[in-house]
């Protein structure tokens, strides 16, 4: 036997061995438990902080089911993990928190998720209507129960406003901008009073805020066709954003210019979902405590972020997991979670709760953030987000606006870029 044939035979058998390994790995877990069996343990999978630690202990005591909390700190690390669980068909928790962008994306494959409607009581009237609707998949199944909401307010620098001759009281400031036109006018006044400084951080932030106020269809129609180029809501948000280019510091959210801008005072206003307050504090530092305050957002309501609890099909205990999700999202639990870690409630009763409404934030000049965010969120119109809303918004809409803002493209060119990229990013 020649060396070459022996070598190739060896290679062939090695290849066979490898494919066998691969084949084994591809087989999922088939260890379905017997029906009706009570679970010894349920796993709750979340990112960031949902404030469930105490609630879970209570649930353990009430039901005797052991609950394991599995937390991932960063949302950026959380998504790939979930994708891996779904792609391999194993590993996911029994109750899984899905952030807005992730939920919408996963909706295009709803079979991965349990329809919660038959497993829990009817809650369709209990939550903010738009939030409840967003929890449904295109095939009608109830994919997630609402947890928190980002809501939206404006964070503004009192000291810079004062220096520019603008009022500083939060109610007076809110009264400055009932709509976006008056907001732009305020920006011009600020510019004159401050020697040409910019009011807002970037026009993409305006676009994000304005987009959610439009209601109805955004980048997709109800059949999930991409309508980026014809959608009136998208065009309205685009026009609002584009009009603000003169009063913008051109510092895109999360860019180094943006982070540095908080200390440098290169902008006096930034749009604040409730979870952004912590980031404003982090970027501005202790030396600026008491200089920031919170006012209402132009145009009324708004939202940015927020999550749902879902049960993956691969979970062995659909019913018990659904019951746990129901418990964690009820009014009492939402208020408890808000007290513990601050996620804003979406349950209508929780939104009326005294503990929530009376909450103030020390860093932001003791602003009644609970009340401000609560009001903002109640004004949101029902909205339809398509499967790849997040990708279209960030990588087509946002980038095109930034290209325009930076002077890389004219408004027309930027619009062309957006509509073209929306088709690419939005395909599913």
């Amino acid at each position: 036997m020649s060396l070459t044939t022996r070598r190739s035979r060896l290679a062939a058998s090695a290849l066979a061995a490898i494919t066998a390994v691969g084949g084994l790995a591809a087989c999922g877990n088939d260890d379905e438990p017997a029906a009706g069996e009570k679970p010894s343990k349920l796993v709750v999978e979340t990112f960031g902080e949902f404030g469930y630690d105490e609630l879970v202990k209570q649930y353990e005591k009430d039901t005797g089911i052991k609950i394991e909390m599995r937390k991932t700190a960063q949302l950026g690390e959380y998504r790939p993990k979930l994708v891996r669980y779904l792609a391999t068909g194993k590993g996911a928790g029994d109750v899984v928190a899905l952030e807005e962008g992730i939920l919408n994306e996963f909706k295009s494959n709803p079979r991965n998720w349990v329809d919660l409607a038959p497993l829990v009581d009817d809650h369709s009237e209990d939550y903010l209507p738009w939030k409840w609707e967003l929890g449904k998949a295109p095939d009608g199944r109830l994919m997630g129960l609402p947890t928190d909401v980002g809501s939206l307010a404006v964070c503004y620098r009192k000291d810079l406003f004062e220096a520019a001759g603008l009022p500083t009281d939060r109610d007076e400031v809110s009264a400055l901008w009932p709509d976006w036109d008056s907001f732009l006018k305020t920006g011009r006044t600020y510019q004159e009073g401050s020697g040409g400084k910019a009011l807002i951080d970037s026009i993409t932030a305006v676009a994000d805020a304005s987009l959610f106020q439009q209601g109805d269809d955004l980048f997709y129609d109800k059949e999930n066709n991409i309508i980026a180029d014809t959608s009136p809501a998208v065009k309205a948000a685009w026009d609002t954003a584009v009009s603000m280019v003169d009063i913008s510091a051109k510092a895109a959210t999360w860019s180094p210019e943006w982070s540095a801008g908080f200390k440098q005072g290169s902008f006096a206003v930034t749009f604040c979902p409730s979870w952004m307050l912590g980031i404003v504090v982090e970027n501005s530092g202790e030396e600026n405590q008491g200089k920031w305050d919170v006012a209402a957002v132009p145009g009324g309501g708004g939202n940015w972020g927020g999550s749902w609890l879902a049960v993956p099909e691969q979970s062995s205990y659909h019913e018990e997991a659904a019951k746990l999700a129901e418990f964690l999202t009820n009014a009492t639990s939402q208020v408890e979670a808000f007290k513990a870690k601050g996620p804003l409630p979406t349950h209508l009763e929780a939104l009326q709760d005294e503990a929530f409404l009376s909450y103030t934030n020390e860093y932001f000049s003791d602003a009644p953030t609970g009340k401000i965010f609560g009001e903002s969120v109640s004004k949101i119109e029902p909205i339809h987000l398509g499967p790849k809303h997040q990708a279209v918004k960030e990588n087509a809409f946002g980038l095109a606006l930034r290209a325009f803002e930076n002077g890389q493209a004219s408004e027309d060119e930027a619009w062309q870029q957006f509509t073209k990229d929306a088709q690419i990013q939005g395909a599913f």
């Binding site: 036997m1 020649s2 060396l3 060896l10 090695a14 290849l15 061995a17 490898i18 494919t19 390994v21 691969g22 950026g76 790939p80 994708v83 779904l86 792609a87 994306e105 996963f106 295009s108 494959n109 991965n112 510092a251 999360w254 860019s255 180094p256 210019e257 540095a260 801008g261 440098q264 290169s266 790849k388 990708a391 960030e394 990588n395 980038l399 095109a400 930034r402 290209a403 930076n406 002077g407 890389q408 493209a409 870029q417 690419i424 990013q425 395909a427 599913f428």
Partner: protein, 323 residues
């Protein structure tokens, strides 16, 4: 020709032992087994690991690239459609141009500088040689992420050091990540910072392998430093140089972390894909977008073929250099 035939005659040649014949024979056949098969056993771990982590993913990627593959949903076999789509995809070509542009901007100055530095360090008269040789390698030890973050700060528009310095010579603020040329330059500077020292050391090693007597002879013949460099150092350094070029090519084609962090983690690479490299495009299609994993796999294979072609080109150059 056969391996075993050279071994086989040794068995009958062995003198039959007075007692315990079967025992010895078994030992002999074991020895023969050992001789024929153990080499394979010794190299097996590499092939096993390469098979699991190298070959299998590659074949799997090839299989994926023939499908319309949703990471968490359906997959349909579509033959070579992904590759046809790739050829007509302007964002793919854009990424290819970006990759080669940044590659040229980083590799050419880098190797020239490395050559210059290596020649300096090779001087016999240089003091504190070891110190300089160590120092020049330090940037390579620093993690890519740290380098990219620090450079990202240097190239900030408003508060960056680079724009501040340029301000002194009357140059207006440059929006480094807002244009093609400036972003390529910024990213290339990160690559150069990390890899110049590394290449210097390899070139230096190559230079030190050149026999000293050649230089002595040249000196006796009256050749100056410059002439010695051109006539002796450079020609004899050619194999080392080509090795360095191959390494730089493989690294440059797979450039990912620097441009990604320069874009604050956005996989698109600038507002108009000004500096999205091929590796980033592959990641965007294959991993960021869950539903186009098959297309991402096709990009991965295209990248593999491009690197293969470039390596082949280098190989041909080596062959030509040798003859």
């Amino acid at each position: 020709m056969s391996h075993s035939t050279t071994v086989a005659p040794s068995t009958p040649a062995a003198p039959p032992p007075p007692s315990g014949g079967t025992h010895t024979r078994r030992r002999l056949s074991l020895a023969r087994l050992d001789l024929t098969y153990s080499p394979y056993l010794y190299i097996a771990p590499f092939f096993l690991i390469f098979g699991i982590f190298g070959l299998y993913p590659m074949l799997r990627t090839a299989w994926m690239s023939l499908h319309d593959w949703d990471m968490i949903g359906d997959r349909t076999f579509i033959g070579l459609d992904n590759y046809t789509r790739l050829l007509a995809d302007e964002y793919f070509w854009n990424a290819l141009v970006n990759t080669f542009g940044i590659f040229a901007l980083s590799t050419i100055p880098q190797l020239l500088l490395a050559l210059f530095l290596a020649n300096l360090l090779n001087r016999t008269l240089l003091r504190a040689k070891t110190f300089f040789r160590m120092a020049i390698f330090i940037p390579n030890v620093v993690s890519v992420a740290a380098v990219a973050i620090v450079f990202g700060m240097l190239y900030q528009r408003e508060y960056g050091l680079v724009n501040w310095l340029l301000g002194f010579v009357g140059i207006d603020q440059i929006d480094w990540d807002g244009q093609t040329w400036s972003s390529w330059t910024a990213i290339a500077s990160m690559v150069n910072w990390r890899w110049t020292g590394y290449n210097t050391l390899i070139l230096l090693a190559g230079m030190q392998a050149i026999p000293r007597d050649l230089y002595e002879a040249a000196e006796i013949d009256g050749a100056g430093q410059w002439r010695q460099f051109w006539r002796i150092t450079l020609p004899l350094l050619r194999p080392t140089f080509i090795f360095v070029v191959i390494l730089a090519t493989i690294g440059g084609m797979q450039l990912f972390t620097e441009p990604l962090l320069f874009a604050n983690g956005n996989i698109i690479g600038g507002t108009q894909r000004d500096f999205q490299t091929l590796a980033m495009y592959m990641y965007e299609m294959g991993i960021t977008n869950l539903n186009s994993a098959g297309y991402g796999a096709a990009v991965a294979w295209a990248l593999f073929l491009i690197i293969g072609l470039m390596s082949l080109l280098n190989f041909v150059l080596v062959r030509r250099a040798a003859t």
